[in-house]
């Protein structure tokens, strides 16, 4: 992980100008690590030019929405972390490789590409919404240019929901990539669909909470609001959607190209389902298409699932060695932080794929 991050830093500079023409839609995710480029916060329009992985249109959006860009970077980071958490036990473990962040794995329209698109669009929407709620961003729900009923202003009618702004911003910023790539129309449709599916996942999982405050606390007067789930919950839902993703192809229906399931017997996908164009490789061996292979990956000897040594190592077998680890144990916690812990020495059997 540490080495791959270093890799990103070195290569992102190189890829800055070249990746505009390549196929993957997640190049902009490279801004998750803008601190590594020496940009701690985005203060001036010049910073936008220095950001890695953005297409021209995104740079324009950046210049117009300087205060939001820190949140975008945070969102990209959030998305990558969550992807790695959700996929830690799979052959493809969402590791970052080079300037295009996930390498060439995503160049083809696979399930993995679908997931990355969805979770990064969701990440931006989530982070921007959070930025709004914390008061860090000033436009948000009270911004008249972004939908909502706030045309009459905060005093008259209050502001519309922050999540509407977050989703809208994610749409403008993330989808801007698709309008500029040289990828096929089919791939662009897939990316746009999956971006939307990621954002939909946030919208659909908002919780409705209400408070009654009428006469004597009765429900004569009731106010409801939406509360956003944690990003971990979003990641989990998207992982389920990944497992149930639909393989599609584009067909011309009427005058427009549309994505329809490749297998006509399958139920058509909804706007919040993930779709992909080509089946994924098995990710067993390192290849030119970006697969890193599973050599040296840790596996679980007892599991029969994908994290088990059998499947993870693609039948190549595994090595076992004994490792001594020092970890914190019997910690005493004060709600947020631990106060004191002991260091425990423990020997563990580690299995790694051959």
């Amino acid at each position: 992980m540490q080495t791959t991050l270093m890799h990103v830093i070195l290569t992102s500079l190189f890829f800055l100008h070249t990746c505009v023409i390549c196929g993957s839609a997640s190049k902009w995710l490279a801004i998750f690590n803008m601190q590594a480029l020496g940009i701690s916060t985005i203060k001036s329009p010049d910073n936008c030019e220095e950001l890695p992985g953005l297409v021209n249109k995104q740079i324009q959006i950046c210049k117009r929405n300087l205060e939001v860009m820190d949140s975008v970077s945070l969102g990209a980071n959030l998305a990558i972390m969550e992807c790695q958490t959700q996929f830690q036990n799979r052959r493809w473990n969402c590791s970052t490789v080079d300037g295009s962040v996930f390498g060439q794995v995503l160049d083809n329209g696979t399930r993995e590409a679908a997931f990355v698109n969805a979770i990064s669009a969701a990440g931006v929407a989530h982070a921007v919404t959070r930025g709004c709620s914390s008061g860090e961003l000033e436009k948000c729900g009270c911004d008249r240019t972004v939908g909502g009923n706030s045309a009459d202003g905060f005093v008259w009618a209050g502001c519309s929901d922050n999540v509407a702004y977050g989703v809208q911003f994610s749409q403008t910023f993330v989808d801007a990539m698709e309008r500029k790539t040289r990828a096929t129309l089919e791939r662009r449709l897939m990316n746009l669909h999956n971006n939307e599916a990621g954002r939909r996942t946030i919208e659909d999982n908002m919780r409705m909470e209400c408070k009654c405050h009428g006469v004597s606390g009765s429900c004569e007067m009731k106010t409801c609001w939406k509360s956003m789930p944690t990003f971990g919950d979003i990641g989990q839902v998207l992982k389920e959607k990944f497992d149930g993703a639909t393989e599609v192809q584009s067909l011309k229906i009427g005058s427009r190209q549309q994505l329809v399931p490749r297998n006509a017997d399958f139920k058509p996908h909804t706007s919040s389902d993930l779709v992909y164009l080509v089946p994924s490789p098995d990710f067993c061996e390192e290849d030119l298409k970006g697969s890193l292979g599973t050599h040296g990956r840790r596996c679980n000897k007892t599991s029969k699932a994908i994290d088990g040594c059998e499947l993870m190592c693609c039948g190549r077998g595994f090595n076992t060695h004994i490792e001594e680890v020092i970890e914190r144990c019997s910690c005493k916690f004060h709600w947020c932080c631990y106060v004191k812990c002991r260091n425990c020495h423990r020997t563990v059997e580690v299995h790694t794929c051959k």
Binding site: S160, D233, C336, V339
Partner: protein
Amino acid sequence: MAGVVIENLSTKKLMGIVVLLLLIQIACFLVGGLIAPSPTSAHTHLATKCIDPAISLQKAFVPHGPNACSKVSTFAEATEKNIEADWIVFSIMMPHRPNRMDRSFQYMLGVLSLDIVYKEDNEMGDEPELTILVEMMYNNDDNAQGEWKKMYSINETRKLNCEFFHQKSPEAEGYSYDCEPIPLFELGTVHHKYYLLNIRLPVWEVDPDTQEVVRELNTNLGAVQELSVVEIHQNGGFTLVWLTLKTALFPLVILAMIWFWKRIVQLARPPVLLERTILALAITISILNLPLEWLTFFHDMPYMLLLSDIRQGACYAMLFSFWIIFVGEHMMDQQERNRLRVYWRQVGSMTLGCMCLFVFDVVERGVQLTNPFYSLWNTETGRRLAMIFVVLAGICAFLYTIFLIFMVYGVFKNISMKRAALPHMVAARRLHYEGLIYRFRFFMIFTLICAVMTAIFFIFSQINEGNWKWGEDKHNIQYSSAFFTGVYGMWNVYVLAVLMLYAPSHKNKPTLQNGDTSEGSQVEFEMSTNVSSTAPSTSAALNPSGAASQAGTSEVYQLLGKVAND
């Protein structure tokens, strides 16, 4: 002079009045639905985690701007930096930049919610209790530059209700508990421009005298990730529309009331119970209409919320009493009437119920005047006490409903009996009963329509409010606001109609066969004051109190007496 207005009104005039009232009603609905925004709005404020190693309660910790506190973005970061739990100050500034609060918001509620995730080594304990130290401050300088002035500094304990929907396993680490939002505060006034909340979750309870640690606090909360406060206030636009509506309705009802009472005074007899009740109803609704809230734009009046509750409660109580008395006074065969004492059971149960709610409200809102973070529901004893009040009020409401239904049933039974006898009656008598029946049925239908409409609107607005609507901001009709202004207007229209239609009529009754108008008035008078059957004379009419208590002879005898007189 006989009967009430509605009996003697020509259909044309009646239609005129109905159309006029209907127009007022529709206007109220449209004002709410088209002009007003939604009644309230909620804004989520995610707390900024400020660091206060000195643990000083004197300083104000501001989340952003030039005087922003030093902060951490996550607790992982805090742990790394060896920051301890009691150094952390959750800071929330309301409203979000660049807005400012407005006095038209009238009140402000805060609801606290915690994001707690599952961690194997820091799990949430059983029945977690949250102890918070809250400081509330305000600022009236532009852009909140100047010094923050302290309003409240309060130590509160709340129960936390959380559930975890995953299997508790190492894989579930990082998934969040589903926690109920906790009511935090209720401010009856929004007088300042900016509000600041500094919330701490202390870990030690220190004895103030000895400075020794008494016990540990917030021990089984689990791994808290975020704290947020949802702030709810009445929208300024709604307040303006609402107050304008009140201001417009107030003189209307007052005028109708004066006109009504003038008519009563012109009568040769003192006012009867029903007329006094109608007057009382008009007075209470006028008190409710009185747009006192305009004053909050100039003065800080935190008791306005309590005052509004009381005014509204009084109005409900009066309306319920009015129904009982109206129905009771139309019980044709009941011997004793025209006295409040007769209705002691019905009115008593209703008054008791209202008193329960009144006491509850005064305690809740009264204490909130000094401590807005207080609620009866927060402590176990308080919760029980509140439950007793509410249950008692519920029982009273149930009893009242039974009484009312029983009485209405009695009147209808009576009406159908009288109906059968109508053709055999003398014209004067028949007209009297027909008048009574017409009056009663009109009232019943009218009341029923209003009550049903209120129920329908209420249910509709509840469903509307609680339902998931994506992109709800886009449509332009505000159902909730229309409900509030519409229902408010409706009960005003109801009172207006009662004042106008049930006032004594100037007109003579339609000429009777024998042309004896005095008898018409005589009969009318009987209805309202229960004149003894044996003395249906003008002298009795002038001296009703003497006649009223006479023990009962039935209407049949009265009828016979009349026939004999004829």
